[in-house]
């Protein structure tokens, strides 16, 4: 199975997802021109997903920032024109020494509020299948039968619900950015529900 283990996913959900909005904002500030925050974040998740199952990470936040910083350095090294200045600048980015910062708890609360807004904002057909799956633990097949729609439709609505939720999770709490991103998503994926 190429998928990551449930434990690893849960760990990512508890320790990394809540940091993502903050990390993204940080990356927009520090990443050199031409390196996309979104790419870096996917690469960072790939690194975290490939960690050995028993890896014990005491400071997820510090670890996440270290990884991302290293990724930036790699990007600069592999780019066609290596800028020594850019490398030196990245070297100066200070990564927090410890993961125990007040943001951790705050983001836990914000996270839940964000999740509420995300689910609340789902188009009703998407929300219905999503909630049937998550509240009632109904398999997708059963949902399809219940709603008298095809399994393929359930899958499409569910995917769309998940995409919207992910969009909500990745923005920081300034609403302006959120709206922009969601609008963009809608344009890109007009199919679905």
């Amino acid at each position: 199975m190429p998928s990551i283990s449930k434990e690893r996913a849960r760990w990512l959900a508890t320790h990394i997802l809540p940091l993502e909005a903050q990390l993204r904002a940080w990356l927009r500030r520090v990443a050199p021109r031409g390196i996309e925050a979104d790419d870096l974040i996917q690469e960072a998740y790939a690194k975290l997903a490939s960690l050995p199952e028993d890896a014990d990470i005491a400071y997820p936040k510090a670890y996440l920032y270290q990884i991302t910083k290293r990724l930036i350095t790699d990007h600069i090294r592999h780019s066609s024109v290596i800028s020594i200045e850019a490398l030196a600048e990245v070297a100066q980015i200070s990564v927090l020494e410890t993961g125990f910062t007040p943001e951790r708890i705050l983001s836990g609360r914000q996270e839940l509020e964000r999740l509420y807004r995300a689910v609340d904002s789902l188009p009703i057909p998407c929300r219905t299948v999503f909630v049937m799956r998550k509240f009632d633990d109904m398999p997708q097949k059963v949902i399809a039968a219940e709603l008298r729609i095809s399994e393929n439709t359930v899958e499409k609505r569910m995917s769309r619900a998940l995409r919207i939720i992910i969009e909500y999770l990745q923005v920081n709490d300034r609403g302006d950015e959120k709206d922009g991103r969601l609008a963009r998503t809608k344009r890109q994926h007009p199919q679905g529900a």
Partner: protein
């Protein structure tokens, strides 16, 4: 968008956008949730292998999928499950939002954070906790931190720690050491787990209450700044008041110093042995009972045994990792 790598074969390689990868990853996670056919599994393999970012997006989408389980918290407070009834929908949604907001602030959601901190032998470390409190761990100590919306719980699993607690009267700070509980609001205190399940609590600032889990909170002991109490499985000693010097001694370890204030030589040796690989051995029973005074670097046991030898008419024999203090002049 079936997630297969179709574009990579063209001559001008177009880099897939992060958003496109995210969308494909979300679809894969949903398909995984309903179960994959053998072909789909192979396709997923191929898809993941074609770009390093895809595994990341996939892991993240899986994490979000699991994270979304927390939405169950809103189950009772929302009408999300109800079939779309257009007329009532808006009114309901407004009410639901209020109720959900209310439920949220009172709920103990699963996203509590739990973390471990530990020091190796000879290590002394200060860390800040999520609430702004500080903890300083003495040598070979271990704590686990579990912060929830209404309580802050730190379990002292072994060793000794100084807690400097950030004031938050809505969220008491409770240290658990075996079955001993120490509750504080905004204060500073040292907890040390000794042998025989003894727990020593020394308060340097503010007030704490100390009790045993097996007893009721009413029977707790109040300790104020400058007091110390020792709780053993059988009894809780009355708090004793410490002099300023004694209090300073109790905190000396924080700066890597062992302050021997009228302790016996065998006690002192045991203290050094908590920090160092080299062990101090007092070979002579009469020497072991001698009372000594002095301040030493915790990581310099040789300085300590040499000073003790000079003071007590003894000598030091070094045998591998052992520093042995023997009576009489150097043979």
């Amino acid at each position: 968008m079936d997630g297969l790598p179709g574009r990579s074969g063209s001559i001008r390689k177009v880099r897939e956008s992060a958003a496109a990868i995210d969308a494909a990853a979300a679809s894969w996670v949903v398909r995984l949730d309903r179960g994959l056919t053998a072909t789909e599994e192979a396709n997923l393999h191929a898809w993941l292998g074609a770009d390093g970012r895809r595994l990341g997006a996939f892991a993240r989408a899986q994490a979000a999928w699991l994270h979304a389980d927390r939405a169950q918290a809103f189950r009772a407070a929302t009408n999300w499950r109800a079939p779309p009834a257009t007329a009532k929908a808006t009114r309901w949604a407004a009410a639901a939002a209020i109720i959900a907001g209310f439920a949220m602030s009172f709920m103990m959601w699963q996203s509590y954070s739990r973390t471990h901190l530990a020091t190796a032998k000879g290590e002394i470390r200060k860390d800040s906790l999520a609430d702004g409190s500080y903890v300083t761990l003495d040598t070979r100590s271990r704590i686990s931190v579990q912060f929830e919306p209404e309580t802050r719980i730190v379990r002292l699993e072994s060793g000794e720690a100084l807690f400097e607690v950030e004031k938050d009267s809505a969220r008491p700070f409770v240290v658990q050491a075996g079955d001993v509980r120490i509750r504080a609001i905004g204060t500073a205190f040292v907890v040390r787990r000794g042998s025989d399940n003894e727990v020593e609590v020394t308060v340097t600032k503010g007030v704490v209450s100390v009790w045993r889990e097996t007893k009721k909170l009413e029977s707790s002991t109040r300790l104020i700044a400058g007091e110390r109490a020792v709780v053993s499985p059988h009894k809780t000693d009355r708090p004793i008041e410490l002099t300023e010097t004694e209090l300073a001694h109790a905190l000396a370890w924080k700066s890597g110093i062992i302050d021997l204030n009228g302790r016996t030589l065998s006690d002192a040796a045991a203290e050094f042995n908590r920090y160092n690989r080299q062990t101090v051995v007092i070979a002579d029973a009469t020497l072991a009972g001698q009372v000594v005074v002095g301040r030493f670097q915790a990581n310099d046991p040789l300085a300590f045994v040499s000073a003790a030898a000079a003071m007590l008419d003894a000598h030091v024999r070094i045998d591998g990792e052992q520093l042995i203090l023997e009576g009489g002049p150097t043979p």
